[in-house]
């Protein structure tokens, strides 16, 4: 269970949020929405250790995540993807899972059924965007997360692609994983998530 307790963060004197509180329970699928500059990405960065909050506590179960390095938090099972696709341009997709080969073969069915099969031998520049996004989710899943943050996974998708992607998430993300989808648009989270939260400037997190 991930818990934020009265977390505050400001950049150059501008408060992004103060006194932010929430609990993310095991297996909860949450959609997090909010306008520009309300700190959606900052929330992910704090939860995954890429940024430090100015005040407050961040706990995973009984462990405090404050002061842990991003790689330590990742090893605790808090995984994320990034707003911009982070795949190496010089490697073909099947070399980008960064797990032992055995693990890939164990999950071969999932990889093949998810629709990226035909692209495993291609470079990212030769693949359409939805494939790359699925690839990133699969990469995170192969690293067996307990909590997965997706930062704007459907940005740039057409309506059709969005539906397909939501099916993909529902089918392949195990229900034991807590999933947080951060989006501007609410279509994807309506299709996938059971809860939705809203971040508004200078206001506490709103559960909608």
């Amino acid at each position: 269970m991930l818990e934020f307790k009265s977390v505050g963060k400001s950049f150059g004197g501008i408060n992004i949020f103060e006194n932010l509180n929430f609990q993310l329970k095991k297996g909860e699928w949450v959609g997090l929405t909010g306008g520009n500059g309300t700190g959606k990405s900052t929330l992910i960065n704090i939860a995954t250790g890429f940024q430090l909050p100015d005040e407050g506590k961040v706990n995973l179960g009984n462990v405090s995540l404050l002061g842990l390095k991003p790689w330590q938090i990742a090893r605790l099972g808090v995984k994320r993807n990034f707003q911009s696709v982070r795949l190496s341009e010089s490697l073909i997709l099947r070399d980008q899972f960064f797990v032992p080969d055995k693990k890939i073969f164990d999950n071969l069915e999932m990889i093949q059924a998810s629709g990226i099969k035909g692209f495993l031998n291609r470079f990212p520049s030769e693949c359409p965007l939805p494939i790359l996004r699925k690839m990133e989710v699969l990469r995170a899943l192969l690293h067996s997360p307990s909590i997965l943050f997706l930062d704007e996974p459907s940005a740039g998708f057409s309506q059709e692609e969005l539906h397909e992607f939501s099916q993909f998430l529902i089918t392949y993300v195990p229900s034991s994983i807590s999933l947080v989808i951060v989006e501007h648009r609410t279509e994807l989270m309506q299709l996938v998530c059971t809860k939705s939260w809203g971040l508004f400037l200078n206001e506490p997190l709103r559960i909608m």
Partner: protein, 298 residues
């Protein structure tokens, strides 16, 4: 008294380092690139101007302006060949290596124009005077004043003119500047030409106080400029000045008290020490932090 004399010598000579560091700092501050070919550009422009002088005797002012023009042109050549084609994070390394290759090329060209290995360079100022007991070389004093003066010009161009604004914009976020319609290719050529002009003036002054030019001048410029810049703090203009003066002080004192053979060792030990203890240099810690923050933006 001896210490004071040593320090004055050091500061006066350090002003030459300051000028070189400023030229490096300009490029690094704006383009986030290191131009290793910089020193040999200055060498080639000096040697070329001397060669033209030997053919047409264009006089000291002719040499001065020809150096400025040729150095700006060579710098643009370097920019088009080594820096313009390479962008992105990996591009910084590639362009540095590419400029290193051109360094070799320019050095070789210079040695063709400098068959005797050394040539005398005209000096234009009276030699020296005594202030009470202190011996002061007037040409070096002049160099010092020029360094201060050129820094002001530098500051003016960077912070008060339109071009300066564009330069800083490109430096802050090249992609964004491109989207806003800034011709970043032109801006980067401008930055290179400007640093070439700046460097040529510096080289002219240094060479005329030395009154000779040797094939090692290019290497010397690049190394001393880089070291002085790192000592003072990357990208900070006052840092470049202070770094240069500090380097001059260290060198003259080490020569005086330990002997000439310890000069460079001490310089590099201090550089290593500063990099380890205070990586931003004497003045540049804030800059380093900002740069880190910018690069860590996810």
């Amino acid at each position: 008294m001896e210490f004071l004399q040593t320090c004055i010598d050091g500061l006066l000579f350090g002003s030459a380092y300051s000028l070189l560091a400023l030229s490096f700092s300009l490029l690094f501050g704006v383009m986030k690139r290191i131009n290793l070919a910089f020193g040999s550009t200055l060498l080639l422009s000096a040697v070329f101007s001397l060669w033209i002088d030997s053919l047409f005797s264009i006089g000291i002012f002719g040499i001065f302006f020809l150096m400025i023009a040729s150095s700006a042109l060579i710098n643009i050549y370097v920019e088009k060949l080594c820096f313009y084609p390479h962008s992105g994070k990996y591009g910084a390394t590639v362009s540095m290596i590419s400029s290193f290759a051109i360094w070799m090329q320019l050095d070789e060209m210079s040695s063709f124009l400098l068959p005797d290995r050394t040539a005398s360079f005209p000096s234009f100022l009276p030699d020296s005077f005594f202030l009470k007991d202190l011996f002061i070389r007037i040409d070096q004093l002049f160099l010092f004043l020029i360094a201060v003066f050129m820094t002001s010009i530098f500051f003016y161009v960077l912070y008060k003119t339109n071009y300066g604004l564009l330069l800083r914009g490109v430096s802050f976020d090249g992609e964004l500047a491109k989207k806003l319609g800034v011709n970043s290719g032109k801006i980067s050529s401008f930055a290179f030409a400007f640093s070439g002009i700046f460097g040529a003036i510096a080289a002219f002054l240094i060479l005329s106080t030395e009154s000779q030019v040797t094939p090692f001048f290019g290497f010397w410029c690049t190394l001393k400029g880089l070291v002085a810049m790192m000592l003072g703090g990357i990208g900070s203009l006052p840092g470049a000045i202070i770094g240069g003066l500090f380097l001059g002080l260290v060198e003259s004192n080490v020569i005086n008290y330990l002997g000439a053979e310890y000069r460079d060792i001490c310089t590099y030990l201090i550089l290593l020490f500063i990099l380890v203890v205070k990586p931003g240099g004497i003045m540049g810690s804030a800059l380093l932090r900002d740069e880190r923050a910018a690069s860590e933006r996810i």
